[in-house]
Structure formats: C-alpha cells, structure tokens
Amino acid sequence: MHTLARAFSAPAFRELGYWLFRYRRTWRGSIVISIGNPLLFLTALGLGLGTLVDRENSAYLHGHSYLTFILPGILIAGVMQIAFLEASGPVMQSALPRGSYRAAASTPLEPTGILYGHLMYWTLRATQNAVLFTCVSLLFGTVDPARAPLLVLVAVLVAIAFAAPAAAWAVTVTRPSQINVMFRFVVLPLYMFSGTFFPIEQLPVSLQWVAWATPLWHGVDLGRTVALGTATPYGVLIHIGYLSVMVAVGLYLARRTYRRKLYV
C-alpha cells in the first residue's frame, strides 16, 4: 500500500507531465499508427491469411474464425512490443549524463517518482493503443462489444508487466546496441512463439512447456480467453498472478536500479 500511495503522490505526476508535454509533438502521428496498425493486420490477416486458414477448419481454433482467434493475440503481443520499446530506448537516453532523468533528479523529484511518472506515461500510451485497436476491431466485428473493455484492461496489465522490468534493465544500459540485441533475441521470439499467431497446443509438447513458461503467453492467453469468452477462473487467476508478479518484481528492481543509476 505504501508503494501505491507513493505512486500517486504529486512528484510522479510532474514526471508524467514532462512526458505528456513532449507527447504534444508526436500525438497525431502516434494516433495514426495506433489506428493504422490494426487496420493493416485485420486486412492482411482477415482477407488474406485468414481465408486460407479457415478453409482448413482447424480443430485448434475451436470453431472460431482465424481472425477472431488471432486478434487478441496481435493486440497483446503488439502492446508488449511497444511497452518494451518505449521503456527501453527512452529510459536509456534519459539516464545518460545529459538525459532528462538527470535534470529531474536535480529537482525535488526522487528516482522513484521519476520511475512512477514515466510508468504512468507508458500506461496511458498503452491504454490509447489498446482502446484504438479494440475500436477498429469492433468496426470489423471481430470482438464482442461486451468483452472489449476487458480486453483493453488485459492489454494495459500486459504493458505494465513488460514495461516495469524493461525499464529496470534499460536504466542500466549504456549502448543502444544492447537494446537491439534484447529486442531481436528476446522480444521478437516472444512475439512469434507465445501463441500470438497460432494455438500453442499444435506445438510439440516440449515446446508447449516453453511457451507456458514465457510471460507473453500468459498475456496472450488471458486476452484471448477473455475476448472469446472461453476464460476459466483457474486460468485467469494463474495469468493475472503471473503478470502481477512481473509488475511487482519489475517495480522492485526498477526502484533499485533507478536509484543506483541516478544517485552515483
């Protein structure tokens, strides 16, 4: 509770203000991307790949169209990807000797406030992306309107679950190439193999175990079962538990790494 109270104290909102102020420059472009992205996916996968897959009538899809099946996965995996990108590059930049974190740290703000402020910004950005994505999907009739808000909530949880540990790590990074490596060898494989594009049940059992262990699968499966109405209380509990642990551990680590980095 102490953490939560600190999170909503004024200083963090000042850091959020900084990022929102900068966002004034780029918000139009970002909204175009938030809408264009799902449009592209829905068209390419719905009209293209989807028609092909649906012809097979795969049992793994449990009677859903491929598009309906894949849509929550794409949203959740995309949210993860954006969360990673926004919480890595900008954090690394900001923590450099001339970065914006350094300016903030010389004011009454504490490293924790800086972290929470930036985290609030990622949360807002993820919310924007998830809402727009879901709205486009609604237009295509690929999401049940009653379940759409839940899907947005799951997406935001996933964003925080990935942003927190990403920031904890990125604040210690000094070279952009390290972020590239992380993206290529961790984030992209997660994106491809966490059941985003196909049901993991069709993988060999050993690989299924790997998929179950990966954090993104829990997000994707939670989003998908919520969106398709196939969620079980047990599954939801495990997924939310897993993601919450990521948030908690991520924040714990980030508070330490931020302090260590900004107070040398």
Partner: protein, 317 residues
Amino acid sequence: MTDSSTVLIDARGLTKVYGKPGDKAGFTAVDGIDFQVRRGEAFGVLGANGAGKSSTMRMIACVSPATAGSLRILGYDSGADGAKIRARLGVVPQDDTIDTELTVRENLLIYGRYFGLSWKVLRERSTRLLEFTRLSEKAEDAVATLSGGMRRRLTIARALINEPEIVLLDEPTTGLDPQARHLLWERLFQLKQEGVTLLLTTHYMDEAEQLCDRLVVMDAGKIVAEGAPAELIARYTLREVLELRFAPGERQIMTDKCRGLAERMEELPDRLLLSTDNGEETLSAVHRQGVQPLTALVRRSSLEDVFLTLTGRSLLD
C-alpha cells in the same frame, strides 16, 4: 543570528569513494574535506582536472550520496532530506542537461514544473529569466540553434526558476569566449548582490579572483588551502613573477643558469617562472648571468601561482 542560520553548507570529513561499497579497488575522489559556506557568500572550489570538484558539487546537489562524513545544507542532512534541499537549490552541472526536444522557453517551463510551480508563475518567471540571461530573442527557438555560451546561460536561467537560495555552478564558463564569460560573470555578480549564495568550481584563476569572496584549492580530493583570493596570494606567493620563455634547444642550459636568482622557481613545459619581490631586479640579474630569453614578462602574482606553489602543477595542464 545563530551560527546554523548563517552557515548554509557545512561539510565535515566529506568523502566520496566510487565503486562498490566494501570493494577495495574503490576510487577516493573526495578525501575527507571540511568547509563551510555562509549565506550571501560567493565560494569557489579551485582545482585541476580530476581534483574532485564535480564529485563535491554533486554531493552538495544531493544527487550523489556521501560515502562518509557529514554534509548539512540549509540545516538539513543531505542524505536524509535530499528532496527538501534540492527544492531550494539551483544547479548548473558541468554536463548541462538542457532538453533538446524542447524549445528554450519550454526548458524553463518544464523544469519549473518539477518544482511544483504553477504555469502562471512560470510564464512570468521564464520571461524575466530569459531577459536576465539575454535570451529573450531565442525564447521560441530550438535548443539546437544555441551557441555554447547561450546554452550555458540557458542552464543558468533554468537553475534560477525556483528562486534558489544557493546556486551551484560547476565550471560555468568553461569553453566560452571572453565576451561570453564576462557577461556571465556580470550576471553572477548581480545574483550575489541580490543575496544569492554562490558555490562555483573553476579552473580559471581570473574567474575565481573576480567572483569569489573565499575559496578552497582542491588537489587529489583534498583541500590544500582556504581563504580569500588576496589572502592566499599573500600567504603563498611573493609579490611578483618573472616569466621567461626560451628557444627549445636552450631551455635546459638557461634554466640551470637561472637557479638561485629567485627565491622560488617553477619549471613549466612552456616557460620558467621566477617568484620574486621585485621582478625588474630579477630580470636584470637574469641578464647579467648571460641568459637570453625569447620573451620576458614581469607580472603580479596571482592565484595561478598559489596553485603552482601548492601543487607543483599548473591548473590548465
């Protein structure tokens, strides 16, 4: 007034060791220094590269925890009450943290927001501070269009946005041309007149002499002297210095011939310095020895010579 209300910065045994705690290979950048800065004073920290000036400043700015010793600022403990202290400090770091994503004015506004100031107050203050630092014309421009001196002025304007009681300036004029430096000095002097306490580091002697009421000379993490500029000059140097330059091939022979002609002699890579009470007389003596310098210059002793005497090195090496 009690002592604690006039002493704004009180450092005792202040120490900074970089590296992991308990790690024997840790590097001691600041080695148990003691000093006090009083309200309204302009206090200088003089030292060569790596002396520990920035490390000291960063501890005072409460962005770098002291490894040992005590540091009290504005009556607060720097370790426990960093946020309260920072709220009343203005900081001009050596590496400026001007935001290149924002315009000149936005830099002031956004920085001011960190102090919880209202937009209304900030609009008024930013206009005033841009005028004070002669940046009004650049207000709406991108930071990238500023020259080095303008950037430094912007950093100073930004440091004043919270109307601080103490302003920390880490090498405020390094890399600026003489005109830009004089403009900055004039502004800093004005601040001092307004009662703001200044703490600045520099390796320019003239800057220290111009601006500082009192200063400490730092070398390898330690304070080696403390006092008013004139006091230090009187204490550590003779009245005048004779500077001689020689043709490269003759330097060693000429230097040897000069030995014993002055009370103190310092060999620098490019010149020979003879400390003396009367430069002209010493120059005559030099000529009588048959020494033929390329150039000879008699000048009053300065802080530069204090530094040389104390550390055996030139400040700008």
